[in-house]
Symmetry: C2
């Protein structure tokens, strides 16, 4: 069941190696009767061709790498990543690719990664999950290997690197506009780390929405935080002094922390302060709190990332692709308004 080679199948089927190869690769130019006989032998023996030999001659491994750099320290706590991996896995399976996973737990590990990633005959392409300041040099290194590279998350420096992201600016804008349209006058925001493009873009969406309205942009209404629940709690406590009547939190976890802080201060959501979050991953608390939020299509995002990378692999001209995916505002109760998804 294992030491079989193309040669052996050929002998048993009474044909040549070439013909067996053609059958296996579903090529035309094989008579039906021969094809049938070969297929029979293959099924009988359980033969499957040697992947390394195939890769060597075809220069294609049908394997892609997913790199989670050191900056992604929330890999172990944020439910975002399993969902991302789910989408990527699904797409890999669909397109008959295999996924190699590289988790750079430490800086040192990350440095050991590059030679392995770039060794020829191993990966057809790489998805780098990023969007963080600290990954600029990694992106450059990866680019230098000439491997097809797709960054998942908008990189700080966009030039000449392909990336896929959700449209964070538009999404945040949509969320904040929802608060404005429905009468909130003192809208504050809790941002993610401003060392990352996710953090920056969602903040800029807030800025755009406020700037595009009759309201004044107040710098103190912008509190930087870290995407965690406890971070949201702390940021909210600071914001409370400014008496906001609405909060746009750049992640659901921070929104949850903010709601806790609001309640601890004796105020009510949404009566005193409306809250809108971001993510809408299936976390129990999101539903429990009836959180209005931006739903980002994480699984589809992962799927699309693989599709985009495959395009890059197939298309060896050095095209620069930028893909932005849309999001959806999910109106629940925390923003204080009835359902209104039409924009």
């Amino acid at each position: 069941m294992s030491a079989l080679r193309l040669e052996d199948i050929a002998k048993k089927a009474g044909v040549s190696r070439s013909t067996v190869s053609r059958v296996i690769n579903n090529q035309p130019n094989v008579s039906d009767s021969v094809r049938k006989k070969v297929l029979e032998v293959i099924n009988l023996t359980g033969f499957s061709p040697n992947a390394a030999a195939r890769t060597l001659v075809s220069q294609r491994s049908n394997t892609i790498g997913l790199v989670l750099p050191h900056s992604v320290s929330t890999f172990f706590t944020d439910p975002y990543y399993p969902h991302l991996i789910k989408g990527i896995s699904q797409a890999c399976n669909h397109y008959d690719f295999t996924l190699a996973l590289f988790v750079a737990g430490t800086k040192e590990y990350q440095e050991k990664l590059l030679p392995r990633l770039s060794s020829k005959g191993f990966l057809d392409g790489v998805i780098l999950q990023s969007g963080h300041h600290a990954d600029q040099s990694l992106i450059l290194d990866l680019k230098q290997t000439n491997l097809p590279l797709l960054v998942a998350g908008r990189p700080l420096n966009e030039e000449e690197v392909c990336f896929i992201d959700i449209d964070n600016v538009a999404a945040a804008e949509k969320a904040v506009r929802h608060l404005i349209i429905n009468g909130r006058k003192r809208i504050a925001t809790i941002t993610g780390p401003l060392t990352s493009t996710v953090g920056l873009d969602r903040m800029n969406g807030y800025r755009n929405a406020i700037g595009g309205s009759s309201q004044k942009l107040i710098d103190d209404f912008i509190q930087e935080s870290d995407f965690t629940e406890i971070g949201g709690y702390k940021a909210m406590n600071k914001l409370l002094e400014l008496q906001p009547d609405a909060i746009f939190a750049a992640s659901d976890m921070m929104a949850i922390g903010a709601i806790r802080a609001i309640r601890d201060s004796g105020r009510e959501v949404p009566k005193d302060i409306a809250v809108v979050g971001f993510d809408d991953l299936p976390i129990p608390a999101v539903n429990e709190l009836q959180l209005t939020t931006i739903r980002q299509p994480v699984v589809q995002f992962g799927f699309k990332a693989v599709e985009t990378l495959i395009e890059l692999i197939e298309n060896d001209s050095p095209i620069v692709k930028k893909v932005l995916m849309d999001t959806e505002l999910i109106v629940r109760k925390s923003c204080g308004f009835i359902k209104n998804n039409d924009w």
Copy 2:
């Protein structure tokens, strides 16, 4: 930087292919001066050997697969998996292996997996995360491929398959004994699904502890649940009618749900009902609730799993290995006792 072959390096260094190969593979029998010159050329050119060619001739890919079968539906919500992957990644990096990840989102996907997993020249071995009833046939199929196979989690049918697990029985026993020793008289348990060995083993630990004491084993004190918070909540509500004074929950998430149910009923933890959980993953709630629990070394577990698989790969005699790892009781406040880690 990419189209380079061994041949090219050899030419530039003025030696033969064989010699360059020896240098790259750190073999002896190369004079220092020649080695130095070759190394120089390699560094200068940034050459790295073609992985497929190496694999083809050496019959080793230095890649292992991690399979998360369909039964692992909690992959997307349970923080256990990212931590497991962390440990596995660390070990892979340490031993210069690459990790290929196979997430079987659906049954159909799972079936498409087998041919890919078993194709020669691709994986040196496989870790199957399991312990569920439904995976028996997958284990058998995988065994038939003759790939070195390590099951992570005790399989239902242990014969002739290598596995690694934590000692769930001993751990649960330890947890329940802690409650007994400290005076609780009506100790109930909320189990995981009894279709999985994790669920079964932790229940049996409970049985052992109660059986080994002067207390009576009461079947109604055993409530089957599903490892989730809401499951724990529901199970606890049923148990409350029986007026237990302590609960051993087979996961922290269930313990959290149980505590919520206890409080909702107007009772106090630990005064009225002591609670001990299982896992001690870094979830904020565990600390917040001061949950006494069994700490399982997930990251180390993943690391050890890789080490064990590598042994299996290196040692091609068909040895059957069974590895059980120890756990630690972490005493916090939910069990109602002061710190006492000495057992």
